[in-house]
């Protein structure tokens, strides 16, 4: 963890805001390696974190919901899904529900639809509140680009620049390796000034932010890349960023260690209660 020492380490300790932006991979993409998904839980620094999946961008595709439960049943956590198409059935106040989570995992799909629907339900404001309260915001593809000022989305059929929420500075383009048609559109958008400088990330990689600072880049395999893309003398120039390859065998809570949650008796009691509940749910 020496890599995280110094300025980055200070950021992690002092700023409670966490965003994990994945270029692709994770359970929705049928990624066999669960390291990025596990990192979502680790970043919460909790023993039994509450993690909520928000599948708005795919229109709450059923297969994604099933895969979410399947993947997160591997680790101690309390899972839930927030559907913005079935608020009536579920009788949920989305704000209250999201703010009670330790991590919010946003799925991929149509970025344009997701942000339009979030706006209608005022989820964009709730996300900012959650971020500032230290709820880990994580996601892939549309669910990763949304936190930046903009990204390259296929929401309209062809790759095009779409505005994001702007919690994080710069822009992001995803699926750098698996969907090469995004790359020329991204370069063009940066050259035209439609998008600010940013990052292009492969499937299986992720950027970890504390506040608005990039703390590190992680990957599930050594061959994967994240590149920084900057406009220099009118044309976009790319430079690969150093990556930490996540260890499959690594014990959970490795990153959480850097951001220890303050210990108080009440929280410990609540966590114990939750772990008992999780175990019971598993056996019933």
């Amino acid at each position: 963890m020496s890599r995280m020492a110094g300025a980055a380490g200070r950021c992690l300790r002092e700023d409670p805001r966490r965003i994990l932006a994945m270029g692709g991979g994770g359970f929705t993409m049928n990624d066999r390696s669960g390291v990025l998904d596990r990192l979502v839980l680790e970043l919460t620094g909790r023993g039994v974190p509450r993690v909520c999946f928000l599948p708005t961008a795919s229109g709450d595709q059923r297969e994604q919901l099933m895969r979410f439960h399947e993947r997160f049943s591997l680790w101690p956590c309390e899972t839930s899904i927030l559907s913005l198409f079935h608020l009536q059935r579920d009788r949920l106040d989305p704000r209250e529900f999201l703010l009670s989570q330790d991590a919010i995992y946003v799925g991929g799909g149509s970025m344009r639809n997701m942000l339009a629907i979030w706006r209608e339900h005022r989820i964009d404001a709730v996300m900012r509140e959650a971020w500032e309260a230290g709820v880990v915001l994580a996601g892939l593809s549309a669910g990763a680009m949304c936190w930046f000022e903009g990204g390259i989305s296929l929401s309209g059929g062809r790759p095009e620049a779409v505005k994001g929420l702007g919690f994080l500075p710069g822009s992001l383009s995803v699926h750098r390796d698996s969907e090469p048609q995004r790359w020329p559109a991204y370069q063009r958008a940066i050259a035209d000034g439609q998008l600010p400088d940013g990052y292009a990330a492969d499937d299986g990689t992720a950027l970890v932010f504390a506040g608005r600072h990039l703390v590190e880049c992680v990957a599930s395999a050594p061959s994967q890349r994240i590149v920084r893309v900057e406009l220099e003398a009118g044309s976009p120039v790319q430079r690969p960023l150093p990556l930490r390859v996540l260890n499959r065998a690594e014990a959970p809570a490795s990153v959480g260690r850097l951001a220890p949650a303050p210990i108080d008796a009440e929280r410990v009691a609540v966590e114990e209660l939750r772990s008992v509940r999780v175990l019971r749910q598993r056996w019933e």
Partner: protein, 254 residues
């Protein structure tokens, strides 16, 4: 074929409610006045749920119409130009789900203006639940948590609307309450019944015979609301309505 602007707002029913009777679906197909109408399904309010799209294709089989659907969550596949596709239809069928999510998504793709154009050029618009509420200026939508929410629709019809009206007492009370406190007067419709508007005026109310009615609700001038029950024409299994276009033009003239 020239048709007046028409909207059929179901209180609930049709294939999307899984009802065994297809009376309402047959009725809207009849309104197009063409033997094999082009029918496009918009499942946006459900998030383009696959099972819903499959049920549409089953109910609107290729034998009696030319069915298609537009997925706004997978624009990279399917219909390339949604506006052009919508304008080429005889009937647009909007599925149920979340009306708030529906309107946000439509606006993000410019479907709000495309649907207005389609309506003005005589494409019959219909739908139930969210697919009904969306056409009106205001509506009382589901009960997310606590109070029901007032929703601003596309406003093609200058009225308010409530669906599943006689079927869910809380909805009925909320609708009356909203109208008493300033929402536009409008129509409460129960499952199995449907309102047909020609232009912005109600032309008729049709029903399966097993519905719990349709009502016009307006403010009573004393801070309350009054309900007027509307006569319902019972649909017959094999009887199509008087030809959509003719009846429509009459109503517009009147």
């Amino acid at each position: 074929m020239r048709r007046p602007p028409q909207i059929v707002a179901f209180g609930g029913g049709g294939f999307s409610m899984g009802s065994e009777s297809t009376l309402l679906d047959d009725y809207v197909i009849g309104l197009t006045g063409v033997p094999r109408p082009r029918v496009c399904f918009l499942p946006t309010a459900s998030g383009d749920a696959d099972h819903y799209v499959v049920r549409f294709y089953r109910a609107f089989a290729a034998g009696r119409c030319e069915p298609s659907h537009i997925s706004l969550f997978r624009r990279e596949t399917g219909v390339a130009d949604p506006r052009a596709h919508l304008l080429a239809q005889d009937l647009i069928y909007v599925g149920g789900g979340s009306v708030v999510s529906l309107l946000g998504t439509w606006r993000a793709h410019g479907l709000d203006t495309a649907l207005r154009e389609a309506w003005q050029t005589g494409v019959v618009l219909c739908g139930g639940s969210a697919g009904s509420l969306c056409w009106f200026s205001e509506a009382v939508s589901g009960f997310h948590c606590g109070a029901p929410r007032k929703v601003t629709g596309l406003g093609l019809l200058p009225w308010s609307n409530a669906v599943h009206y006689g079927d869910e007492p809380a909805r009925r009370a909320a609708f009356q309450g909203a109208i008493a406190t300033g929402m536009a007067p409008g129509y409460g419709v129960s499952d199995g019944a449907a309102l047909r508007f020609v232009g912005v005026e109600l032309a008729e109310v049709v029903g399966s015979g097993r519905d719990s009615g349709a009502f016009f609700v307006s403010g009573d001038g004393h801070g309350g609301a009054t309900e007027r029950e509307l006569p319902i024409r019972k649909l017959d299994q094999c009887l199509f309505p008087a030809h959509g276009a003719d009846a429509g033009e009459e109503a517009v003239a009147a």
